[in-house]
Protein backbone atom coordinates (compact mmCIF):
# COMPACT_ATOMS: atom_id res chain seq x y z
CA UNK A 1 0.00 0.00 0.00
CA UNK A 2 1.49 3.29 -0.96
CA UNK A 3 1.35 6.38 1.15
CA UNK A 4 1.62 9.40 -1.14
CA UNK A 5 2.84 12.59 0.50
CA UNK A 6 2.83 16.01 -1.11
CA UNK A 7 6.33 17.49 -1.37
CA UNK A 8 6.15 20.77 -3.32
CA UNK A 9 5.26 22.32 -6.65
CA UNK A 10 7.35 21.05 -9.54
CA UNK A 11 8.81 24.49 -10.17
CA UNK A 12 10.23 24.64 -6.65
CA UNK A 13 13.02 22.29 -7.71
CA UNK A 14 15.40 23.49 -10.41
CA UNK A 15 16.49 21.17 -13.15
CA UNK A 16 19.57 19.17 -12.14
CA UNK A 17 19.01 20.06 -8.50
CA UNK A 18 17.74 18.68 -5.22
CA UNK A 19 15.75 19.80 -2.20
CA UNK A 20 15.42 18.45 1.30
CA UNK A 21 11.99 17.23 2.37
CA UNK A 22 11.20 16.33 5.97
CA UNK A 23 8.12 14.31 6.83
CA UNK A 24 6.97 12.53 9.99
CA UNK A 25 10.39 12.55 11.60
CA UNK A 26 12.15 11.33 8.47
CA UNK A 27 14.21 13.25 5.96
CA UNK A 28 14.27 12.75 2.20
CA UNK A 29 16.04 14.25 -0.81
CA UNK A 30 13.88 14.98 -3.86
CA UNK A 31 15.59 15.50 -7.23
CA UNK A 32 14.78 16.91 -10.61
CA UNK A 33 17.01 15.46 -13.33
CA UNK A 34 18.42 17.37 -16.32
CA UNK A 35 15.83 15.59 -18.49
CA UNK A 36 13.07 16.85 -16.20
CA UNK A 37 12.18 13.71 -14.29
CA UNK A 38 11.68 13.62 -10.52
CA UNK A 39 13.23 11.16 -8.06
CA UNK A 40 13.41 10.68 -4.30
CA UNK A 41 15.88 9.01 -1.94
CA UNK A 42 16.63 8.89 1.75
CA UNK A 43 17.89 12.31 2.78
CA UNK A 44 21.06 11.26 4.57
CA UNK A 45 24.29 9.93 3.15
CA UNK A 46 24.98 6.32 4.15
CA UNK A 47 28.56 7.24 5.10
CA UNK A 48 28.15 9.87 7.84
CA UNK A 49 24.48 10.87 7.86
CA UNK A 50 24.96 14.19 6.09
CA UNK A 51 22.00 15.86 4.34
CA UNK A 52 22.45 15.08 0.67
CA UNK A 53 20.24 18.00 -0.37
CA UNK A 54 23.21 20.29 0.36
CA UNK A 55 25.24 18.34 -2.18
CA UNK A 56 25.71 18.72 -5.89
CA UNK A 57 23.58 17.10 -8.59
CA UNK A 58 25.44 16.25 -11.77
CA UNK A 59 23.48 14.31 -14.40
CA UNK A 60 22.05 11.34 -12.50
CA UNK A 61 24.53 11.59 -9.61
CA UNK A 62 24.11 13.18 -6.20
CA UNK A 63 27.38 13.92 -4.46
CA UNK A 64 27.50 14.28 -0.69
CA UNK A 65 28.69 17.76 0.37
CA UNK A 66 30.90 16.41 3.15
CA UNK A 67 33.16 13.76 1.69
CA UNK A 68 31.99 13.56 -1.92
CA UNK A 69 30.42 10.12 -1.66
CA UNK A 70 28.43 9.57 -4.86
CA UNK A 71 25.14 7.85 -5.54
CA UNK A 72 22.85 7.46 -8.51
CA UNK A 73 19.72 9.20 -7.26
CA UNK A 74 17.72 7.28 -9.85
CA UNK A 75 18.65 3.83 -8.50
CA UNK A 76 20.22 4.65 -5.12
CA UNK A 77 23.39 2.81 -6.13
CA UNK A 78 26.53 3.81 -4.20
CA UNK A 79 29.23 4.69 -6.72
CA UNK A 80 32.33 3.89 -4.72
CA UNK A 81 34.45 5.00 -1.77
CA UNK A 82 33.79 6.37 0.73
CA UNK A 83 30.22 5.16 0.31
CA UNK A 84 29.54 1.45 0.07
CA UNK A 85 25.90 1.20 1.21
CA UNK A 86 23.20 2.07 -1.33
CA UNK A 87 20.58 4.76 -0.75
CA UNK A 88 16.95 3.77 -0.44
CA UNK A 89 14.80 5.23 -3.22
CA UNK A 90 11.09 6.10 -3.18
CA UNK A 91 8.45 6.28 -5.92
CA UNK A 92 7.55 9.75 -7.16
CA UNK A 93 4.50 10.96 -9.06
CA UNK A 94 3.51 14.34 -10.48
CA UNK A 95 -0.12 15.40 -10.36
CA UNK A 96 -1.36 18.84 -11.34
CA UNK A 97 2.09 20.42 -11.07
CA UNK A 98 2.71 18.95 -7.62
CA UNK A 99 5.39 16.43 -6.62
CA UNK A 100 4.35 13.50 -4.43
CA UNK A 101 6.54 10.77 -3.00
CA UNK A 102 5.49 7.43 -1.59
CA UNK A 103 7.14 7.04 1.79
CA UNK A 104 5.63 3.70 2.81
Amino acid sequence: MSNWVEVCATDEIDEEDVIRFDHAGRTFAVYRSPDDEFFATDGLCTHEKIHLAEGLVMDDIIECPKHNGRFSYKTGEAKGAPVCVNLKTYPVKIEGGTVFISVA
Binding site: G55, P65, K66, G80
Partner: protein, 408 residues
Protein backbone atom coordinates in the same frame (compact mmCIF):
# COMPACT_ATOMS: atom_id res chain seq x y z
CA UNK B 1 51.46 -10.12 -12.57
CA UNK B 2 50.49 -12.25 -9.61
CA UNK B 3 51.27 -10.46 -6.34
CA UNK B 4 50.84 -6.81 -5.39
CA UNK B 5 52.06 -5.81 -1.92
CA UNK B 6 50.85 -2.58 -0.32
CA UNK B 7 52.88 -1.24 2.59
CA UNK B 8 50.87 1.03 4.87
CA UNK B 9 47.31 0.21 5.88
CA UNK B 10 45.63 3.60 6.16
CA UNK B 11 42.96 5.18 4.02
CA UNK B 12 45.19 5.23 0.96
CA UNK B 13 46.45 1.66 1.14
CA UNK B 14 43.00 0.26 1.83
CA UNK B 15 41.47 2.24 -1.02
CA UNK B 16 44.16 1.03 -3.38
CA UNK B 17 43.57 -2.60 -2.41
CA UNK B 18 39.84 -2.39 -3.16
CA UNK B 19 40.45 -0.39 -6.32
CA UNK B 20 42.68 -3.20 -7.63
CA UNK B 21 39.77 -5.60 -7.33
CA UNK B 22 37.36 -3.07 -8.83
CA UNK B 23 39.69 -3.10 -11.83
CA UNK B 24 39.43 -6.88 -11.97
CA UNK B 25 42.94 -7.67 -10.78
CA UNK B 26 42.79 -11.37 -9.97
CA UNK B 27 46.22 -11.89 -8.42
CA UNK B 28 47.23 -11.84 -4.76
CA UNK B 29 46.93 -8.61 -2.74
CA UNK B 30 48.70 -8.20 0.59
CA UNK B 31 48.15 -5.08 2.66
CA UNK B 32 50.63 -4.62 5.52
CA UNK B 33 49.99 -2.23 8.43
CA UNK B 34 51.90 -1.55 11.62
CA UNK B 35 48.83 -0.69 13.68
CA UNK B 36 46.76 -3.40 15.32
CA UNK B 37 43.50 -2.20 13.72
CA UNK B 38 42.16 -2.74 10.26
CA UNK B 39 42.52 0.47 8.21
CA UNK B 40 40.42 3.24 9.73
CA UNK B 41 39.52 6.83 8.93
CA UNK B 42 41.71 9.37 10.68
CA UNK B 43 39.57 12.53 10.42
CA UNK B 44 37.37 11.51 13.40
CA UNK B 45 40.41 11.21 15.69
CA UNK B 46 40.34 14.91 16.57
CA UNK B 47 36.54 14.93 16.87
CA UNK B 48 34.14 12.02 17.41
CA UNK B 49 36.86 9.62 18.53
CA UNK B 50 37.36 11.87 21.57
CA UNK B 51 33.64 12.32 22.20
CA UNK B 52 31.57 9.28 21.45
CA UNK B 53 33.20 7.00 18.90
CA UNK B 54 35.25 4.71 21.06
CA UNK B 55 36.13 2.23 18.33
CA UNK B 56 37.98 3.26 15.17
CA UNK B 57 35.77 4.01 12.17
CA UNK B 58 36.96 1.29 9.83
CA UNK B 59 37.31 1.99 6.13
CA UNK B 60 35.77 -1.43 5.61
CA UNK B 61 34.92 -4.30 7.91
CA UNK B 62 36.84 -7.58 7.92
CA UNK B 63 34.21 -9.34 5.83
CA UNK B 64 34.71 -7.00 2.88
CA UNK B 65 38.45 -7.68 2.81
CA UNK B 66 37.75 -11.39 2.96
CA UNK B 67 35.12 -11.16 0.20
CA UNK B 68 37.54 -9.21 -1.97
CA UNK B 69 40.37 -11.64 -1.29
CA UNK B 70 42.59 -8.98 0.26
CA UNK B 71 45.02 -10.30 2.84
CA UNK B 72 45.49 -7.71 5.61
CA UNK B 73 48.50 -8.16 7.87
CA UNK B 74 48.05 -5.91 10.91
CA UNK B 75 50.52 -5.23 13.68
CA UNK B 76 53.44 -5.85 11.33
CA UNK B 77 55.84 -3.39 9.86
CA UNK B 78 58.13 -3.76 6.90
CA UNK B 79 61.78 -3.61 7.84
CA UNK B 80 63.35 -3.44 4.42
CA UNK B 81 62.70 -3.64 0.72
CA UNK B 82 65.02 -5.28 -1.79
CA UNK B 83 64.11 -3.70 -5.13
CA UNK B 84 66.54 -5.92 -7.06
CA UNK B 85 65.13 -9.15 -5.64
CA UNK B 86 61.61 -7.64 -5.44
CA UNK B 87 61.02 -8.68 -1.86
CA UNK B 88 59.95 -7.00 1.37
CA UNK B 89 61.04 -8.24 4.78
CA UNK B 90 58.45 -8.05 7.57
CA UNK B 91 59.11 -7.40 11.24
CA UNK B 92 58.27 -11.04 12.02
CA UNK B 93 61.01 -12.20 9.64
CA UNK B 94 58.73 -13.26 6.81
CA UNK B 95 59.83 -12.34 3.29
CA UNK B 96 57.14 -11.27 0.84
CA UNK B 97 57.93 -11.53 -2.85
CA UNK B 98 56.14 -8.92 -4.96
CA UNK B 99 55.64 -8.23 -8.62
CA UNK B 100 54.70 -4.66 -7.91
CA UNK B 101 54.83 -2.69 -4.70
CA UNK B 102 52.82 0.27 -3.47
CA UNK B 103 54.10 2.44 -0.62
CA UNK B 104 51.34 4.13 1.35
CA UNK B 105 53.39 4.65 4.46
CA UNK B 106 51.77 7.94 5.40
CA UNK B 107 53.26 10.52 7.71
CA UNK B 108 53.92 10.86 11.41
CA UNK B 109 53.61 13.85 13.70
CA UNK B 110 56.54 16.22 13.62
CA UNK B 111 58.17 15.88 17.04
CA UNK B 112 58.75 18.92 19.18
CA UNK B 113 62.44 19.83 18.77
CA UNK B 114 64.56 18.38 21.51
CA UNK B 115 61.79 16.40 23.12
CA UNK B 116 62.72 12.78 23.65
CA UNK B 117 61.21 9.47 24.53
CA UNK B 118 57.92 8.48 26.04
CA UNK B 119 55.95 11.28 27.59
CA UNK B 120 52.61 10.77 29.24
CA UNK B 121 51.53 14.37 29.48
CA UNK B 122 53.06 15.59 26.21
CA UNK B 123 51.49 13.86 23.24
CA UNK B 124 50.75 13.98 19.55
CA UNK B 125 47.59 12.95 17.70
CA UNK B 126 47.79 10.68 14.70
CA UNK B 127 46.51 7.23 15.62
CA UNK B 128 43.51 5.77 17.36
CA UNK B 129 45.64 4.90 20.37
CA UNK B 130 46.82 8.52 20.53
CA UNK B 131 43.16 9.57 20.64
CA UNK B 132 42.42 7.07 23.40
CA UNK B 133 45.29 8.42 25.49
CA UNK B 134 44.28 12.05 24.94
CA UNK B 135 40.65 11.29 25.71
CA UNK B 136 41.71 9.87 29.07
CA UNK B 137 43.34 13.21 29.92
CA UNK B 138 40.41 15.42 28.96
CA UNK B 139 38.19 15.35 32.00
CA UNK B 140 36.01 18.39 32.61
CA UNK B 141 38.14 21.08 34.19
CA UNK B 142 41.43 19.63 32.99
CA UNK B 143 43.77 22.15 31.38
CA UNK B 144 44.85 21.23 27.87
CA UNK B 145 47.66 23.16 26.19
CA UNK B 146 47.94 22.77 22.44
CA UNK B 147 51.06 23.67 20.52
CA UNK B 148 50.30 24.64 16.95
CA UNK B 149 47.35 26.50 15.43
CA UNK B 150 46.81 24.18 12.48
CA UNK B 151 43.83 21.98 11.73
CA UNK B 152 44.69 19.23 14.20
CA UNK B 153 45.29 21.61 17.08
CA UNK B 154 42.20 23.68 16.41
CA UNK B 155 39.90 20.71 15.92
CA UNK B 156 41.24 19.24 19.13
CA UNK B 157 40.65 22.58 20.90
CA UNK B 158 37.00 22.59 19.79
CA UNK B 159 36.47 19.02 20.92
CA UNK B 160 38.19 19.60 24.24
CA UNK B 161 35.88 22.56 24.93
CA UNK B 162 32.89 20.28 24.28
CA UNK B 163 34.33 17.93 26.89
CA UNK B 164 34.62 20.77 29.39
CA UNK B 165 38.38 21.08 29.39
CA UNK B 166 40.13 24.44 29.68
CA UNK B 167 42.18 25.08 26.54
CA UNK B 168 45.21 27.23 25.78
CA UNK B 169 46.57 27.15 22.23
CA UNK B 170 50.06 28.45 21.46
CA UNK B 171 51.04 29.39 17.92
CA UNK B 172 54.48 30.64 16.94
CA UNK B 173 53.36 32.64 13.92
CA UNK B 174 51.33 35.88 14.06
CA UNK B 175 48.07 34.10 13.23
CA UNK B 176 46.56 30.63 13.28
CA UNK B 177 46.15 28.60 10.07
CA UNK B 178 48.80 30.60 8.29
CA UNK B 179 49.66 27.67 6.05
CA UNK B 180 47.23 27.54 3.15
CA UNK B 181 44.28 29.34 4.74
CA UNK B 182 43.54 33.00 3.94
CA UNK B 183 43.64 35.46 6.83
CA UNK B 184 39.92 36.27 6.41
CA UNK B 185 39.00 32.67 7.21
CA UNK B 186 41.46 32.22 10.03
CA UNK B 187 40.04 35.36 11.65
CA UNK B 188 36.59 33.74 11.70
CA UNK B 189 38.04 30.58 13.21
CA UNK B 190 40.01 32.50 15.83
CA UNK B 191 37.00 34.59 16.82
CA UNK B 192 34.88 31.51 17.23
CA UNK B 193 37.46 29.77 19.42
CA UNK B 194 37.74 32.86 21.61
CA UNK B 195 33.95 33.00 21.94
CA UNK B 196 34.02 29.37 23.03
CA UNK B 197 36.58 30.19 25.70
CA UNK B 198 39.79 28.97 24.09
CA UNK B 199 42.80 31.09 24.94
CA UNK B 200 44.80 31.59 21.74
CA UNK B 201 48.35 32.95 22.03
CA UNK B 202 49.91 33.85 18.67
CA UNK B 203 53.46 34.93 17.95
CA UNK B 204 54.73 33.06 20.98
CA UNK B 205 57.98 31.14 20.69
CA UNK B 206 58.43 28.17 22.93
CA UNK B 207 61.75 27.64 24.60
CA UNK B 208 61.19 24.36 26.32
CA UNK B 209 58.64 21.78 27.40
CA UNK B 210 58.84 19.79 30.58
CA UNK B 211 56.85 17.03 32.14
CA UNK B 212 56.47 16.27 35.81
CA UNK B 213 54.40 13.74 37.72
CA UNK B 214 51.48 16.14 38.17
CA UNK B 215 51.64 18.51 35.23
CA UNK B 216 53.38 19.48 32.02
CA UNK B 217 54.81 22.92 31.37
CA UNK B 218 55.49 25.20 28.45
CA UNK B 219 58.22 27.77 28.94
CA UNK B 220 58.01 30.59 26.44
CA UNK B 221 60.79 32.79 25.21
CA UNK B 222 59.09 35.86 26.65
CA UNK B 223 59.25 34.37 30.12
CA UNK B 224 55.81 32.87 30.59
CA UNK B 225 55.14 29.43 32.03
CA UNK B 226 51.97 27.64 30.98
CA UNK B 227 51.08 24.85 33.36
CA UNK B 228 48.77 22.19 31.91
CA UNK B 229 47.51 18.73 32.72
CA UNK B 230 48.16 17.66 29.16
CA UNK B 231 50.10 19.13 26.24
CA UNK B 232 49.35 18.07 22.68
CA UNK B 233 51.85 19.02 20.00
CA UNK B 234 50.35 19.63 16.57
CA UNK B 235 53.09 21.21 14.50
CA UNK B 236 52.73 19.30 11.27
CA UNK B 237 53.75 15.92 9.97
CA UNK B 238 56.79 14.37 8.38
CA UNK B 239 56.47 11.77 5.63
CA UNK B 240 57.53 8.21 6.38
CA UNK B 241 60.26 7.86 3.77
CA UNK B 242 62.89 5.81 5.58
CA UNK B 243 61.93 2.48 4.03
CA UNK B 244 62.01 3.98 0.54
CA UNK B 245 65.22 5.87 1.17
CA UNK B 246 66.97 2.76 2.46
CA UNK B 247 65.83 0.95 -0.67
CA UNK B 248 67.57 3.61 -2.75
CA UNK B 249 64.47 5.38 -4.05
CA UNK B 250 64.63 9.09 -4.79
CA UNK B 251 63.33 11.26 -1.94
CA UNK B 252 62.28 14.89 -2.36
CA UNK B 253 60.08 16.16 0.47
CA UNK B 254 58.52 12.70 0.50
CA UNK B 255 58.96 9.70 -1.74
CA UNK B 256 59.33 11.32 -5.16
CA UNK B 257 56.87 10.00 -7.74
CA UNK B 258 56.00 11.03 -11.28
CA UNK B 259 52.56 12.03 -12.52
CA UNK B 260 51.65 8.33 -12.58
CA UNK B 261 52.71 7.90 -8.93
CA UNK B 262 55.67 5.77 -9.97
CA UNK B 263 58.84 6.08 -7.88
CA UNK B 264 62.36 5.96 -9.28
CA UNK B 265 61.96 2.16 -9.35
CA UNK B 266 59.59 1.17 -12.17
CA UNK B 267 57.89 -1.54 -10.11
CA UNK B 268 57.36 0.56 -6.99
CA UNK B 269 54.65 3.20 -6.68
CA UNK B 270 53.82 5.53 -3.80
CA UNK B 271 50.65 7.43 -2.90
CA UNK B 272 49.09 9.59 -0.23
CA UNK B 273 50.77 11.55 2.56
CA UNK B 274 54.16 9.89 2.03
CA UNK B 275 54.81 11.02 -1.54
CA UNK B 276 55.57 14.23 -3.40
CA UNK B 277 54.20 14.53 -6.90
CA UNK B 278 53.94 17.06 -9.73
CA UNK B 279 50.68 18.94 -9.32
CA UNK B 280 48.78 19.62 -12.54
CA UNK B 281 46.98 22.95 -12.97
CA UNK B 282 49.83 24.58 -11.03
CA UNK B 283 52.66 24.25 -13.50
CA UNK B 284 53.64 20.79 -12.34
CA UNK B 285 55.21 22.06 -9.13
CA UNK B 286 56.12 19.27 -6.75
CA UNK B 287 53.90 19.08 -3.67
CA UNK B 288 53.07 16.67 -0.92
CA UNK B 289 49.50 16.71 0.38
CA UNK B 290 48.33 15.50 3.76
CA UNK B 291 44.65 15.14 3.16
CA UNK B 292 42.00 12.49 3.39
CA UNK B 293 40.63 12.85 -0.09
CA UNK B 294 44.06 12.99 -1.63
CA UNK B 295 44.77 9.67 0.09
CA UNK B 296 41.65 8.19 -1.46
CA UNK B 297 42.17 9.65 -4.90
CA UNK B 298 45.80 8.63 -5.10
CA UNK B 299 45.07 5.16 -3.74
CA UNK B 300 42.55 4.70 -6.54
CA UNK B 301 44.91 6.12 -9.14
CA UNK B 302 47.87 4.08 -7.93
CA UNK B 303 45.80 0.92 -8.29
CA UNK B 304 45.04 1.77 -11.90
CA UNK B 305 48.69 2.49 -12.65
CA UNK B 306 49.98 -0.60 -10.83
CA UNK B 307 47.97 -2.46 -13.45
CA UNK B 308 49.54 -0.53 -16.29
CA UNK B 309 46.95 2.17 -16.99
CA UNK B 310 49.40 5.12 -17.15
CA UNK B 311 46.85 7.62 -15.92
CA UNK B 312 48.19 10.95 -14.64
CA UNK B 313 47.23 12.74 -11.43
CA UNK B 314 44.42 15.15 -12.25
CA UNK B 315 42.68 15.89 -8.96
CA UNK B 316 42.58 19.43 -7.60
CA UNK B 317 43.70 19.51 -3.95
CA UNK B 318 40.75 19.69 -1.60
CA UNK B 319 40.50 19.62 2.15
CA UNK B 320 38.23 20.54 4.97
CA UNK B 321 38.17 21.12 8.71
CA UNK B 322 35.28 20.89 11.16
CA UNK B 323 35.37 22.97 14.35
CA UNK B 324 32.23 23.42 16.47
CA UNK B 325 29.45 23.77 13.88
CA UNK B 326 31.82 25.52 11.44
CA UNK B 327 33.15 23.82 8.36
CA UNK B 328 36.01 25.27 6.37
CA UNK B 329 36.65 23.90 2.89
CA UNK B 330 39.43 24.76 0.49
CA UNK B 331 39.86 23.68 -3.12
CA UNK B 332 43.05 24.41 -5.01
CA UNK B 333 46.17 26.24 -3.88
CA UNK B 334 45.98 30.00 -3.52
CA UNK B 335 49.73 30.75 -3.74
CA UNK B 336 50.24 32.96 -6.76
CA UNK B 337 46.79 34.51 -6.66
CA UNK B 338 46.66 38.20 -7.48
CA UNK B 339 42.99 38.81 -6.83
CA UNK B 340 40.47 37.56 -4.27
CA UNK B 341 36.74 37.80 -4.92
CA UNK B 342 34.38 37.68 -1.96
CA UNK B 343 31.10 35.84 -2.36
CA UNK B 344 28.50 36.24 0.33
CA UNK B 345 26.75 32.90 0.95
CA UNK B 346 24.83 33.66 4.13
CA UNK B 347 25.14 35.99 7.09
CA UNK B 348 27.70 33.68 8.65
CA UNK B 349 29.13 32.04 5.52
CA UNK B 350 31.35 33.25 2.68
CA UNK B 351 33.72 32.07 0.00
CA UNK B 352 36.89 33.71 -1.31
CA UNK B 353 37.74 32.93 -4.92
CA UNK B 354 41.41 33.30 -5.75
CA UNK B 355 42.30 34.30 -9.31
CA UNK B 356 45.73 34.52 -10.92
CA UNK B 357 47.03 37.31 -13.13
CA UNK B 358 45.34 35.75 -16.18
CA UNK B 359 41.99 35.75 -14.40
CA UNK B 360 42.03 31.99 -13.98
CA UNK B 361 40.45 30.53 -10.87
CA UNK B 362 43.20 28.74 -8.93
CA UNK B 363 41.64 28.29 -5.49
CA UNK B 364 38.51 28.83 -3.43
CA UNK B 365 38.26 28.98 0.35
CA UNK B 366 34.97 28.96 2.18
CA UNK B 367 33.70 28.86 5.74
CA UNK B 368 30.29 28.65 7.30
CA UNK B 369 28.09 26.55 9.54
CA UNK B 370 27.44 22.98 8.44
CA UNK B 371 27.71 22.40 4.73
CA UNK B 372 26.72 25.92 3.72
CA UNK B 373 29.72 26.44 1.43
CA UNK B 374 30.20 22.85 0.29
CA UNK B 375 28.33 22.89 -2.98
CA UNK B 376 29.97 26.07 -4.23
CA UNK B 377 33.43 24.89 -3.21
CA UNK B 378 32.84 21.67 -5.10
CA UNK B 379 31.83 23.64 -8.17
CA UNK B 380 34.87 25.86 -7.74
CA UNK B 381 37.02 22.74 -7.72
CA UNK B 382 35.50 21.71 -11.04
CA UNK B 383 36.08 25.21 -12.39
CA UNK B 384 39.75 25.04 -11.34
CA UNK B 385 40.14 21.69 -13.06
CA UNK B 386 38.50 23.11 -16.19
CA UNK B 387 40.88 26.11 -16.03
CA UNK B 388 38.08 28.60 -16.47
CA UNK B 389 38.39 32.37 -16.19
CA UNK B 390 35.15 33.32 -14.51
CA UNK B 391 33.80 36.84 -14.53
CA UNK B 392 34.69 38.24 -11.07
CA UNK B 393 31.43 40.19 -10.94
CA UNK B 394 29.42 37.04 -11.56
CA UNK B 395 31.46 35.15 -8.95
CA UNK B 396 30.70 37.79 -6.36
CA UNK B 397 26.98 37.99 -7.11
CA UNK B 398 25.07 35.75 -4.68
CA UNK B 399 22.38 35.24 -7.31
CA UNK B 400 24.77 33.62 -9.80
CA UNK B 401 24.52 29.85 -9.92
CA UNK B 402 28.14 28.76 -10.08
CA UNK B 403 27.17 25.89 -12.34
CA UNK B 404 26.55 28.43 -15.06
CA UNK B 405 30.20 29.61 -14.81
CA UNK B 406 31.70 26.18 -15.37
CA UNK B 407 31.96 26.73 -19.10
CA UNK B 408 33.37 30.27 -18.77
Amino acid sequence: MSHIVIIGAGECGARAAFALRERNFEGQITLVGAEEHLPYERPPLSKDALLNRLEPKLVSDAARYADAGIEVLTGLSVESIDPAGKTARLSDGEILAYDRLLLTTGARPRPFPGLSGANHRIRTLRTHSDAVAIRAGLQPGAHLAIIGGGFIGLELAATARKLGARVTLVEGLPRILSRGVPAELSAVVAARHKAEGVEILCGVTIQELSEGPDDARIFTEDGRTIVADLIVVGIGAVPNVELARDAGLVIDNGIAVDAHLRTSDPDIFAAGDCCSFPLPHYGGRRVRLEAWRNAQDQGTLAAANLLGTEEAVSAVPWFWSDQYDLTLQIAGIADGATQAVWRHVAEDAFILFHLDADGRLIAASGIGPGNSVARDIRLAEMMIAARVRPDPVALAAPGTKLKTLLAA
